[in-house]
Every structure is written in C-alpha cells, then in structure tokens.
Amino acid sequence: MKWLTSLMLLPLLGAVLVATLPKAKELLAKQLAFGTTLVVAVAGIAMATQFQRDNVDLQFAESHSWIPTFGINYAVGIDGIALVLILLSVLLAPIVVLAGWNEAVGGRWSVKGFYVLILILETMMIGVFAASDVFLFYVFFEAMLIPVYFLIGGYGTGARAAAAVKFLLYSLFGGLLMLASIIAIYVISGEQGGHTFDINALSQLRLSSTTENLLFLGFFIAFAIKAPLWPFHTWLPDAADSATPGTSVLLLGVLDKVGTFGMIRYCLTLFPHASKTFTPVIIVLAVISIIYGAFLAIGQKDFKRLIAFTSISHFGFITLGIFAMTSQGHSGATLYMFNHGFSTAALFLVAGWMASRRGSSKIADFGGLQRITPIMAWAFFFAGMSSLALPGLSSFVSEFLVLVGTYTRYPVAAVISAFGIVLAALYILLPIQRALHGPTTDGNESLTDLNLREKIAIAPVLAVILVLGFYPAPLLNVINPAAAHSIAKAGFSDPLSAIDSKGATK
C-alpha cells in the first residue's frame, strides 16, 4: 500500500470537498475539515505501526518518473526522523482545527477558504518531510509558503499584510539561494554520470571543498531562515504576532521544523565535509539564538511575541543538538522537534484562547486569571512548565539529551547554553505571575473558562507532553537508528567518555 502518497492525497481530497461547499455552510466546512484531519491522523498512526524501526533506509518508498528531462522523480520515503515529524504534523492538524473552531469566522475571507488552505498545507507538510527527491522537496518547501502566506494575510490580525509579506520574502530569499545550490548540484550530478535528484545518489557526489562549502551555505541559509536561527529570525515574531493561533501553531510547530529537518536530511547528508567545516560557526549561532531568544522573550510584553522568541531559543537548542554530531545530540534534537511542536501548540492555543476572550494579547491586560478561569490558567501553566523543560515533561528529555550530547563534544557551548535553563524559568514565570497570579485586574472579571471543545482539544496535547516526559521510548526507539545513521553518514562517531578514551590510549 502506498502509505505516503495516500497520506498526502487525503487532505487534498478534503480540501477539494471543502472548496466545493457553498459559502454559507460554515459548520459543515469545519466538520468536514476536522473529519479529514482526524482520518489523516489515524492513517498516519496506522502507518507508524508498519514502520520497521531498526531499518535505517527510507521506508514506504515510492518513485515515479515526473520530469524525466531533468531526471526528476516523484520519490518519497521516510526514515525515523521524517516519520516522527510527519506524525507531528498529522497529529497537530486536527487539534489546530478543533482548537481554532471559530478562528476563521469574521476573518476577511470565507470560513471554508481557511480550511481549504489548512488542508492543502497539511498535504505539503507531509510531502516536504516525505520527499526523497531534492527537487520534490524544494517544490514543497517553496509551495507551502503560499498557503501560509494567505493564512497569515487573510485571517490574521494587526499588521498581518506586512507580516505575511515579510514571512514570504524572507523564506523566498532563502529558498532561492537554495535553488542556486540545487541547480549546481544538479549540474554536477550530470557531469558525474547522469542528472539526478535522488538524495542517496547525490550524497555520493565528489565535490571540491570550495563548491561543497558554497552549496552547503545555499542550503543552510535557507534552513536557518526557516528554523529560524539568529540573526535570520526577525520575521518570526511578526508572523506569529499577526497569525491566528492555529496558523502560528502550524508555523512554529511544524513548518519551522522543515528548517532543522533539512539541516539533518540535506546539509549533513549531501555536504558532510562542509558541515564539518561550518560546525563551529553554526554552534556559535545556535548558542547565541538560545541566549538571545531567551532574553528577548523575557523582554516581550505580548504573549504571542513572547512565545515566538521562546521558540527561537528552542530552535537554538535543536540546531545545537544537530551540529553537536553526537547520537545524543541528534536524537535529542529530533525528539526536541516533536516535543517543541506540542508544547508550543499548547502555549499558543491557550494564549490564543486567553487573547480571544480578553480581546488583547498584551500580558499587562491580564491578571489573576487563576482565580477566574482556573482550568485555562492550569493549561497555560502546564504548557509553560513544559516549555521551560521541567523534568517529567517531554521537553526535558530532549533538552537534556541535546545538552549532554553537546557537552561530550563542545563543553563550552553546552555550559553557556545551559544558562538557557535559568532564563527559561524567567521568561515563563514572569508572564505567569503577571497574568495568572495577583489580584484580578479590570476587564478580566467576566472571562469564561475553557469550554468542552477547548478542553477536548488541549487535553491530548498535555497528555502527550506528560506521557513522553516519563516514557519517551516509543519515539526514541524510532529516532535512534535514523539519528545514528545520519551521524555515521556525516562521518562522525560519539566521543568516548574521558575514562574509556584513557583506557583506549593505554
């Protein structure tokens, strides 16, 4: 059975159905969209059960000739890392739809338009992680900007147009740099026996070090913008600020992961030596992102921007883990992508509900919510705890793995980044204190607590965060082989512990 293709077609089908609905049937559109995403989620889980975890080559692989003139195939196939990210996408989608049930209402455009875009986006999210043909990956990578662009600009708030443009141009710029690299690697593959875009074939190319470095940069900058890494991050706060909560969840939760995923899947695989060469620089950037993002998060006065900056800090951790080139770092980073998806989703959804009730996302406008809307307050608190990586919650495992994995090769970087732990406490607890604690401030007395739909939407997210905190094995078992494989392909191996290496030298 062609799992991946069907997984991609399902949402597309849903999109078509929703599109054909009459404008007036808003509720039906919502239900249809929700149903579709739910089906996709189930299908995704079903696929995961078929995944052979110890098999390191791409699974569920399909390949059909697409543009033979350029040796381009529609080729998909996933390893553990991709699987985890696809799961993330398909699991978050229904939650986003359910949580943002009324997001599209009163937007500039029709309700159904919102869900059509969401469903198209889901297809592309799956595709971008599933692609095993560089060209196909690029097509998804660029094409998925468009629905997001319209989701931000069409349904967002505030300076949505500016934010949407900023997002699109930033990403396009990176994407075009990547295109240059892709063209180059395509031509080189032609010179070395047959044009191809097959990721495995391309990883065999012989490149001169200068070429490799330049091509690497082309890819990396695109991914660094997407991820986003300091100093390419400034589009994110604006986008998150003006997008609807649901869109932000998909944006920060899934889309940005394409950047970090690309670093693992493409930068390391295609350009191992260049990756080695640039590692120091990237490590520095990652550490800066961690600390810088944390400090800016502390300085924010608006929930949405605050969450955006915490994500920048977290993406710093992910990048750090990737380029630490240790199995702990890699597995940690991948797990981090998944966990960050969920904790950010929780934060953003709850913050979104708070904002929609209060009519403002300024932290200062809230106060004493714990007394008025205890459940909402609790949900936010829980999400916050997972964002500051409290042991027992999922993000702790990944964050700690990243730090340990980094320490074994780059102690200094790990130590500096560890200060992120303290800063995290500040950027989470400050808003909690201001908004949830203290006396109830004016305008908050009449806020209503979460309704059943919202509870149902948030419950699974929090559950996943908690369960994976104590029992991450299901994911780690899938990730570990893939992570180890990608490190091996990049030509690295875990550093021995001081004692063992002493023993080895003896």
Binding site: P68, T69, A143, I183
Partner: protein, 506 residues
C-alpha cells in the same frame, strides 16, 4: 542564353507564413470593399481562421527540416517549428483580446477630443484595420526566427515592427499617450533597425556573404577583418536587444506598454519577445557560435544589468502596465542567460521559457483589460486594492500568473527558471545564475506587493470594478491560467517534445 530555372521554394514549408500573409491580404481587401456592418465579424473570423490554418500547417510540417526552402533564405527546423507555433498560439490568444473593440478608437485620424471623434464613437462603428496589421505583424514574427540571411532578417524585422508602431497608437482612451507611445516606438524602433542594418553591412563586409551559414564559415575560417566582425556583432545585437527590451535599449518598453491599447501591449509583449529571441537564438547559436569568446562577455554584462535593473526599478512602479513592462525587462535578462548558455539545454530552456512567459504575459494583460472605471481601464496599482474581495476568481488567476512570473514552484515560471538557470550553470556561467537568483528574489517583492494589494487591502470605493469579460477574453484568461498551472505540474511531455525537436540546422 541560359534556360530559366524556377527557384525551388518548397511551398509546403513556407505555407504557414504564406497562409498568414494571404490572410493579411484578404483582410486588406475586406477593409476596402466590405460594408462597415459585417466587417468586424468577417475580419475577426478571417484572422482567426488564418492563424488556426497556419497553426495546423505548422503542425503538419513539424518533422520536416530543410535549409533549402525559399532558396536557402529560411531554415525550417525544430526551433523554427516550435517558435512559429508559439507565435501563432500567442497570436490567437492575442486576437481574442483584440477582438474587444472597446479598446480601439474608431477613426485613428480624428483629433482627440474633437467633434468627429465623439461622432465616430456614437456611430457605434468599430475599428477593423487592426486585423490586417496584426496578421502582417504575425507574418513578420514568424519569418524573423527562421530567416537565415541578413536580407530576410532585416525585412522580417521591419514587417513585424511597422504594424506594431501603428497599432500602438490606436487606443480609444488616453489617445495622446497612445499616439506618443506610437511615436516613441517608431522613432526608437527605426533608430535601432538602422543599427541593425549597419551591423548587417559590416557582417557582410567581414564574411562576404549575407547568409548566416556564410558568416559562420568565415568566423570558423578566421579569415577576414575582425574589426568588421566586432562592429557587425555589436550593431546587429543592438537592433535585436532593442526588440527584446534589454537594458540599456529598454527605455521604450515601459512607455509603449503603458501607452498602447492593452490588447496590443499583451500581443506585442508576448509575441515580439518570442520572435526576437527566436532570431537571437538562431543567429548566436548557428552563426556566431564560434565567436563565443567575443560576444559572451558583452551579453553577460547586458543580461546581468537587465535582470537587476528590471527587477529593481519595477519595485517603485505605481502603474500595473509599467510594472509588467519592467518585469518583462527582467525576464529578458533571464532569457539572455539561456542565450549565453549556448548549449542544447539552453536552447530547450529558452524555448520553454518563451512559451511559458508569453502565455502568462498575455493572461496578465488580459486581466488588466478587465479592471475599469467609467473612464476606461484602471492601471493605477493603488486602485487595484481589494480586487480579491470584488472578484476573487479574477484576482486568484492574476495572483497565480504573478507567482508564475516570480517563479514559484508548481507554476510554469518555476520550471522555466530552473531549466534556464541550470543550462546557464552547465555552461559555466555561474555568475549569471547567482545574480539571476538574487534579482528574482527582488522581483518577488513587487509581484507579492500586488497580491497584497489585491487580497489584504480593503477596497477603496472609487468606482473601480471588474467587468464581466467577453467569451473570447474569458477564453484567453482561463486558457493562459490553465497552461501556466499545467506546465508547472506536468511539464514533462512538453519538455520532451522540445528537447526531441529543438535542434538548429546550419
């Protein structure tokens, strides 16, 4: 006395051009003898019939290839067939737009704002001279890319230009501008063709032959005065580059595009580029190919300047037609990259690009004809605000075409850009690729800006409205949209056809 040997013309191969010319003559006769009442219909049907017939004939001779047609003054080969077909298809689509007499003054001779003018408009008569002019122009455009000697080239150049000069001046509204456009186009066109001719003279002087083959032999032989060759190449290029609107020979483009009646702009922007680039490709690929090292640098410089200039200046445009003009300048730069590539891939890419770009351009201008207020077309960008709300369908199509110009994946523009840049890279012109990629990043900005205006800005209530298009116009718009998407998603068959057919014969 010698016996008379009839020249072997091989009519079947010339048939497409002959048909068009014949049609042109018929339309002229109609102009003279048919009653005003039935003229429009008759002219339109004859014109379309002619074009379709010619297209069929082109299809029938698609596998032919000969150098001897018309005593060797034209070459019938793959590129010739493809380019002629392209010109014809664009012409058909263009005529669909031209058929909307709304745009044309009734009697071009009447003074703007004069009594006669008003009377003529009241009379409800329609201007029909435009059809013969169109057909002659088409004939010239079909001859230009297949001509293989300097005489034919020059004649073709004039045959395609002269009607366009006139057509540019036929607008019903803003006639002063329209006439000014005609004047500028004419003076500069004549000026540049003088350069062309002068260059031709020196090429003849260099090689002692007027046929491209002869010039090729002379260059290969290396005999002859190189100064002549240089002067010849440069001046000939000036003439050709003027037609494609390459910087610094571009200055006419924005003014003429803006002043001319929009259907004419559409037709000329699309078809002239095809013809001119067809000629450029033939001349530089067959005749000058061995002088590569002489002309490559100047074309490279021109290409780079053109890409950057077009993209950068387009940003600050406030008039949609001018903006599209600058965008066409930028695209001329991209196409030059294909010329410089000087390899099979470059040829194929250029032909694909020409077709894709021509179609998209026609579509874009077709949409422009729809946006009007009481005083006719509205080309002021700011007044396009909120078009997406007024008529989402048209706006969506326009947005798609813009995205195609911007080269976003899943549109024809992306495939074109990719193929042309990879060809350029393959030939070692890395610089062009990098500059091209960067300038298309800049270009993206102004395309996106229009989308923002249409979708994310609220409409100002200033009487701007989107008229219900006539069937023909609708046909143009929808077919261009369909082709743009189709070529983006399934370019394979088309690319195969091109690469299997397109080879110059010398």
């Amino acid at each position: 006395m010698t016996v008379f040997v009839a020249p072997s013309l091989s009519y079947s191969l010339l048939a497409p051009i002959l048909i068009v010319l014949g049609g042109a003559v018929i339309t002229v006769v109609f102009e003279a003898f048919l009653s005003k009442a039935i003229r429009p219909v008759a002219q339109l049907s004859v014109t379309l019939g002619t074009l379709v017939l010619a297209l069929v004939q082109v299809w029938r001779i698609r596998h032919e290839s000969s150098l001897t047609a018309a005593m060797g003054s034209v070459a019938i080969d793959g590129p010739a067939i493809l380019l002629q077909a392209t010109v014809l298809i664009l012409a058909v689509l263009g005529v669909f737009l031209i058929a909307d007499n709304e745009h044309f003054t009734v009697v071009a001779a009447t003074l703007p704002g004069s009594e006669e003018e008003r009377a003529s408009i009241q009379s409800g008569e329609k201007l029909t001279e435009v059809y013969p002019l169109t057909l002659f122009a088409v004939a010239g455009m079909m001859l230009f890319p297949i001509a293989t000697d300097l005489i034919t080239l020059f004649v073709a150049l004039e045959v395609l230009s002269l009607p366009l000069y006139l057509m540019a001046g036929l607008s019903r509204r803003r006639r002063l501008m329209s006439q000014e456009a005609a004047l500028k186009y004419f003076l500069l066109g004549a000026f540049s063709s003088a350069f062309f001719l002068f260059g031709a003279a020196f090429l003849y002087g260099y090689s002692g032959s007027v046929s491209l083959a002869g010039i090729y032999d002379a260059i290969s032989g290396g005999t002859g005065n190189n100064v002549f060759l240089m002067i010849g190449i440069v001046f000939l290029s000036v003439g050709l580059l003027f037609k494609v609107g390459a910087v610094p020979f571009h200055a006419w483009t924005p003014d003429v595009y803006q002043g001319a009646p929009t259907p004419i702009t559409a037709f000329m922007a699309a078809a002239t580029k095809v013809a001119a680039f067809g000629a450029i490709l033939r001349i530089f690929y067959t005749s000058f190919s061995n002088a590569y090292w002489d002309w490559r640098p100047i074309l490279t410089v021109i290409a780079i300047i053109t890409m950057v200039f077009g993209s950068v200046v387009a940003i600050s445009q406030r008039d949609i037609k001018r903006m599209l003009a600058y965008s066409s300048i930028a695209h001329a730069g991209f196409l030059l990259a294909g010329v410089i590539a000087l390899n099979k891939a470059g040829l194929d890419a250029s032909i694909f690009y020409l077709f894709a770009y021509g179609v998209a351009t026609l579509g874009a201008f077709a949409v422009v004809t729809l946006v009007r207020d009481s005083a006719g077309e509205v080309t002021d960008l700011n007044r396009w605000a909120g078009l997406g709300k007024r008529s989402p369908f048209v706006a969506t199509i326009f947005a798609t075409l813009l995205l195609a110009f911007a080269g976003i994946p899943l549109t024809s523009g992306f495939i074109g850009k990719f193929s042309i840049f990879s060809a350029a890279y393959e030939s070692g012109n890395k610089l062009i690729v990098v500059v091209g990629v960067l300038s298309s990043a800049i270009a993206a900005y102004f395309y996106v800006r229009v989308i923002v205006l249409m979708f994310f800005t609220d409409p100002a209530d200033d009487g701007t409205s989107v008229i219900i298009p006539s069937i023909l116009t609708r046909a143009t718009i929808i077919s261009t949209f369909a082709i743009t998407i189709f070529l983006g998603v399934f370019p394979a068959p088309f690319l195969n056809f091109i690469s299997s057919t397109a080879t110059f014969i010398r």
